[in-house]
């Protein structure tokens, strides 16, 4: 409507305009990239774990002394745990999903060649209750049977199980769209196992791993003296069962130490802590930045209003309505913001490019700067509204006042 005269008035105050424009540009560059990082982390933290994380308790027992009998201890423990009211299923296993520690190895669909291209997968040794106890969803095939569970007395061994259950992610990577069920896979020593089941999803040990859902269940009892149990409870009974499990395990066998009994969410939180921290830090920086920029706009606009009191009164005297005055400031702000975000878009992509090349973060998606532009437009209009309304309240009679 009246861009040109507003623009030419702005250009007479180049420095002030440039400062706020640069501020808006920097804000866009930072906010777009920070929100992009936040969204990625939030998405990562929100990934379904595949297991029934909310109702799972994990416990660790460490046997010691000459009287410790590993197999016997595990058998008694799982029987005892399964008998606790409120417990749905229990499996002995070798590691805790998403805990940051675990076992992984490479597998191929042909016996390994000198230069194999294996599919790397996390491995969990579970018993015949493994699928139930973890709460993973079996979409093809069957769970393990008691007879399949392997055990080798020698703690250092390179055994492979006769049958395995894999996640869809592993099936997809190894067999493409073809069927996985019933097919053999090979470890790096050339030993083979048959795929007897496919589960929908399960996150492995490392949440930051680039193939987090590459997980394989093997029917084995892990060697001592460390053993872990996954105890799946009825919904809502988890917290109440943690102390009970700890007490019963501790009392049942004096040849071992119960290292800890914890809900699975303990590890989930720990593993995502760096990401949660980043989200928290970035959210604070983004909010403060938006706040400071908004206050800067309010401050400068207020200042302009007070400097231009006479001018505004004159405009009112020669026929400007209140809404015309408000509109003047809104348009002025919109022009300023538009200039700022134009520069800001360039800065945002440059900064995004630098971040992705220096810290090997993913490349900034254009959606974020574009959303940032809209945000800053709206923010600017809201911020300028208060001083603009004050400007509109300046009485036209100011114009006849000398000095």
């Amino acid at each position: 409507m009246e861009f040109r005269p507003i623009l030419s008035a702005m250009l007479r105050n180049k420095t002030g305009v440039f400062l706020v424009g640069l501020q808006i540009a920097l804000t866009l560059a930072v906010v777009a990239n920070a929100v992009f990082i936040i969204m990625q982390r939030v998405e990562k933290i929100g990934r379904p774990p595949g297991i029934d994380s909310a109702n799972l308790i994990f416990a660790q027992s460490y046997g010691f002394g000459p009287n410790y009998d590993h197999r016997d201890t595990v058998r008694r423990d799982v029987d005892m745990l399964r008998a606790i009211p409120g417990v749905v299923a229990v499996t002995a296993l070798n590691g805790i999903p998403m805990s940051g520690g675990g076992r992984q190895s490479g597998y191929t669909i042909e016996p390994p060649t000198p230069q194999p291209n294996p599919t790397t997968s996390n491995i969990y040794f579970v018993d015949e209750h493994g699928v139930d106890a973890l709460g993973v969803k079996l979409i093809e095939g069957r769970a393990f049977t008691e007879a399949e569970i392997q055990y080798n007395e020698n703690p250092t061994n390179s055994d492979f199980a006769p049958s395995v259950i894999i996640t869809q992610a592993v099936a997809q990577q190894m067999f493409g769209d073809g069927p996985a069920l019933g097919k053999p896979i090979y470890d790096n020593l050339g030993q083979s196992a048959i795929v007897i089941g496919v589960i929908e999803n399960m996150l492995g040990a490392w949440v930051g791993f680039d193939q987090p859902s590459n997980v394989m269940l093997q029917p084995r009892l892990s060697n001592g003296p460390t053993i872990r149990y996954a105890i799946r409870t009825e919904p809502g009974r988890r917290d109440q069962l943690v102390p009970e499990v700890e007490k019963k395990l501790a009392e049942s066998n004096l040849n071992r130490a119960v290292t800890w009994v914890r809900p699975h969410t303990y590890w989930v939180e720990r593993s995502y802590r760096a990401d949660s921290r980043m989200v928290a830090f970035l959210s604070v920086i983004v909010s403060l930045m938006v706040l400071v920029t908004a206050l800067g706009i309010v401050g400068l606009a207020s200042f302009h209003v007070s400097v231009r009191t006479k001018q505004i009164g004159t405009r009112r005297a020669v026929g400007a309505r209140r809404i015309d005055i408000i509109r003047y400031f809104m348009i002025e702000n919109w022009l300023l913001t538009t200039g700022g975000v134009a520069l800001g878009l360039v800065l945002a992509f440059a900064f995004g490019h630098w971040l992705s090349s220096t810290y090997s973060l993913p490349r900034l998606e254009p959606l974020y700067p574009v959303a940032g532009v809209v945000l800053l437009w709206i923010l600017g209009q809201i911020a300028v509204f208060v001083p603009a309304r004050r400007a509109a309240a300046i009485p036209p009679a100011i114009a006849t006042r000398t000095v």
């Binding site: 640069l22 920097l26 501790a250 970035l282 920086i285 207020s302």
Partner: protein, 439 residues
Amino acid sequence: MFNYYVRLALKSLRRTPVVAALMIGAIALGVGVCITTLTVYRLMSGNPIEHRNDVLRAVTLDNWDPNQPWDDRRPELPPYELTYRDAMALFESDIPSRQVMMRKGPFVVESDPALGVKPFLVEARLTTKDFFSIFDVPFEYGGGWDAAADQGAQRVVVLSKETNDKIFGGQDSVGKNVRLDGKDYNVIGVLAEWTPTPKFYDLNNGSFDGIEEAFVPFNIGQIDQVQPGGNVNCWRTQPLNSFQDFLESDCVWIQYWVELKGRDKVEAYQSFIDSYVQEQKKLGRFERPLNNKLRTPEEWLEINRVVASDNSVLVGLSFMFLAVCLLNMIGLLLAKFLGSAPLVGLRRALGATRQTIFNQHLVEVGVIGIAGGVLGIGLAGLGLLGVRQLYENYDTLTRLDVTMSLTALVIAIASGVLAGLYPTWRVCRVQPAAYLKTQ
């Protein structure tokens, strides 16, 4: 004159309280955020063994897969740890004045039932004797063990302060016994509080975890077949069907440090490990190109990227935030100063020189900077309080110390004055005549 300027500055700030609050608030926020992230960064990037940087070296040998480097993204790096057999071979050398090979392992600790402490699992460090001396480990009671204990795998143990508190209530326990995995060990030393952050001597098994809870002679690990407690990485296709298989394998899991006093020693040791690897190549091992590295603690921290990229990104973003705050302040200050141009014109007419106007406004900027800095320190303190919620176990390390407080003040005043220079310069150029005419 200075006092007069300060009085003028305060008066000027009081005249426009909102603008003054916005400016001071902007600097304070910018500084507060920067100091918070810098403190975290400094915590993450500290080198706790800086004073021994010139004599300590982490030893790495490249025994990895001929078809694939240890780290795909940085193929020039050898593995971080050594195989057991190579560590044992290097330990024969007498070039280092002191040296240590070590690893982690779990033990269940039992104490005298009379003490009423339930058996509990600890992460122990299995290490040779020089660990305590080359890393300047402080002792509360007793001390480390001697070469004979290393040789004979004597059952002696050094407890961390925490473990000693737990079992013995902080008493001097030297000479007493504890049971580790069912065997009696004689306590020969108790550490004082020691929190190297990051845990430089073993960066691949929880670099920000606390130290191990107990320390025992390295050779006990082999005799009792103590399972490795840290990362084990293997590449060679070889069946491992006994602990002996494992010890002889190409799996890496041993950390190795040497003390080399002087350049000659470093060079001599480098050629020693190189010729060792050349010998091994003849036996069909070490198929990759010769790539043996000795790293100072500082290099070691850098290579292991202890400072997560997240922290660097945060520091970068914080400073961009500070820039935005400063731009904000420059804009407001410029508006404010130019708004008072008629007054400046009057002062000039009454005989003020450009220099005096400059000084007067610079003092005002300085006052804003100091106020912003002081408030910024307060905000940083608040920020770190929040950070402490995010970083469990780092209480002592996320406190705002004198250095950071001073840094905050310096950043605030420097950036405030820097930001104020342009508006100050502009206001100095006010022509006395321009504002004295009736409008």
